[in-house]
Point group: none
């Protein structure tokens, strides 16, 4: 995809209109079997209701009907990037999210600490879910790995999960995973997609050999499985494709990582919503040149993944109570949406399209509109791809020129 | 785009079913801040209501969410042509619409007579909206312009609007506009998109120099702004891609121009709706081989662009009162739609999708459907691209064959 595909070069830069996009992670849900009402339909959301009563509502789909996105593709779609062709490897996402020293040309991969027997067969793909502090200690041991011409950085993520970044000449990411996905098998041999990926395979094999040696006496985590090789993603920036000066406000590192991939400034913040909104208000007032703020709320998704319906309802109400903090800034356009749905009854991300509201002076509110799966299904925005949202954001801000005479 | 993309070659030619597509320019609007009702929701439209009560309604989007079309792309989309790749320069449209001697290889541009002060600053981009007869007189003066190797033809359009056609070797249309879009500025210098466009820039600059000289003593129209350079567009005809014998009925020359580009016959008519419908009725009765009539209503768009909410409401009611004149012809399919939205509160074209009704014996009316932005948002046609309308027109006319056995 070339940059002109995003907005056909029609964006207007000499505008002072400012946009806030509040992304409530895993926003959409499904009806609770007892009440027949979804999390959004159960929650008391007076501020979001008021926003829908004057805005345009609709449903947005990150990948199209039936396809469930991970966080990476879901966010790329929100920012207008084709999530199928612009995908970021899981390793790259971890690398970005951990705030590792990770830059263009580098290749990252995801590591899972695991247990192997004397024959090398995998007996536990998660090494008994070792606690995070053990993971941190083991990762420190792996910093001793040396590969000629390659800088290796290993960092702990959570429990048995870690990430590695390789930096050097001629590295690439066309490499298969070693994770056999089942126990009782040897790790899979790494395979190169093309001849150009042979060097990366050789480097990764050296890495795995040294890991095996270093961890030989550890228990239960005496080996790693490596997967999700991914180059630092090189995407056109939101400055280039939208003419915006974007800022990403996200407490959780991975979302700052995604935001920085598309060119946002990503000041650090705690992941508490109030802390994020403190930062938003401070940036808004002190940086009048900044015109696009992505604000990310994480905990709603976690509650959905935990299957905690009531907690998700409560967290939605907490977000609702903070909407006035955004409105007092008087943004020209306020969008409230989600990256994907995470229905509590599914305990997972899902494919269901995401309730969305755009509020500006150019909207078509429908009678009784609310920010819910069912209400937004008949909103005036229709049911559209998530990738269409950025053009709508610019249009509602008066930042998109007419095409043709 | 090749012709088979339009209907996959499935159109049926041995049919006597006839289609009328009434295009109300700038049809869609936005709620008035006082009443909360849009132009369509404010107007009393008993005949259109009755049509919606037995037809299928929906919203059509010319360019997709967020993108605002000019008249050219908006109409091409209505006729089923990809508006992004088939676009026609405004000047080319005007050249076509005026019935100028305009053919492949020529380049046309739009002229607006304007007023400049002694310093050359534009003080009125429309020269006080000079009457058409003054425009005709001034265009006659400009026929004296001579540029070596280039034939120049200037013709009046309406009020302050005119068009010029350049014919000669090496002309092209990658040239920017001189219209600064605001008063108090000099006209913009013409710029070439590529080296191949330098000759066209030089020719156009010679033209402008001579115009300045010829009009120096005129008032208020003492200069022109030039814009919308466009080559003669070469598109497959509606005969080829739909098997139709189409007729365009439009009083305003530019719309006859668009219609002729896609192969319609375009008999001249006044732009009064009754005159257009007189012509429709006459053609319908005397030319039974003609099976597709595009009928264009212009004034609704002008009222929207002028920000005259009440006038747009009144004009919609005038159109509604004339729907019976179409119905008495008993068309197999009657479509009422718009090329794009022109909300009065925005005083401009917009990206909002356009309320649409298709009436035939094969429809799915929804309860209480009306021709309005909100009602059509939940109509049975859904929210679809404008380019899908022609296939629906053919389908409702029984003119599109089954695909596959």
């Amino acid at each position: 995809m070339i940059s002109s595909d995003y907005t056909r070069g029609l964006f207007i830069t000499d505008s002072s209109a400012r946009i806030v996009m509040l992304v409530i992670d895993g926003l959409g849900g499904l009806p609770h079997p007892d009440s027949g009402r979804s999390e959004l339909e159960t929650a008391n959301l007076p501020n979001l209701d008021a926003l829908c009563a004057r805005g345009s509502t609709g449903l947005i789909s990150p990948l199209g009907p039936g396809f469930t996105p991970g966080s990476g593709p879901a966010h790329l779609a929100l920012f207008g990037y084709d999530p199928w062709t612009s995908s970021i490897g899981r390793g790259a996402l971890s690398g970005l999210g951990l705030g590792l020293d990770f830059k263009p040309g580098d290749v990252a991969a995801r590591l899972n600490f695991c247990t192997v027997d004397d024959a090398g067969l995998v007996t536990d793909r998660r090494a008994g879910r070792i606690p995070t502090d053990v993971c941190v200690r083991l990762c420190a041991l792996l910093q001793d790995i040396t590969i000629p011409g390659v800088k290796v950085t290993v960092a702990a993520e959570m429990e048995y999960r870690a990430a590695v970044v390789f930096r050097g000449e001629g590295l690439s990411d066309g490499v298969t995973d070693s994770d056999p996905q089942v126990t009782g098998h040897l790790p899979l041999p790494l395979q190169a997609a093309t001849a150009a990926d042979e060097r990366m395979v050789a480097v990764a094999n050296q890495f795995l050999d040294q890991v095996r040696h270093i961890l030989a006496d550890e228990s239960p985590a005496n080996m790693v499985l490596i997967r999700g090789f991914g180059r630092y993603p090189e995407l056109p920036s939101m400055q280039q494709v939208y003419g915006l000066h974007p800022v990403g406000i996200a407490g959780y590192p991975m979302y700052r990582g995604i935001a920085s991939v598309v060119g946002m400034e990503t000041p650090e913040t705690d992941w508490d919503v109030d802390a994020e909104l403190d930062l938003l208000q401070q940036r808004w007032r002190n940086h009048p040149d900044e015109d696009f703020y992505y604000v990310h709320v994480k905990k709603t998704d976690s509650a959905g993944e935990d299957g905690d319906f009531d907690k998700k309802v409560h967290l939605l109400e907490e977000v609702d109570a903070r909407i006035p903090r955004i409105l007092e800034l008087e943004p020209d356009v306020l969008i409230v949406t989600g990256d994907h749905s995470t229905p509590s009854i599914m305990r997972a991300h899902s494919w269901h399209p995401v309730p969305t509201v755009i509020a500006s002076g150019r909207c078509i509110p429908v009678h009784g509109a609310q920010l819910s799966e069912r209400s937004c299904a008949s909103g005036s925005l229709g049911q559209i791809p998530s990738t269409a949202l950025m053009a709508l954001a610019l249009a509602h801000a008066g930042r998109l020129a007419k095409f043709g005479a």
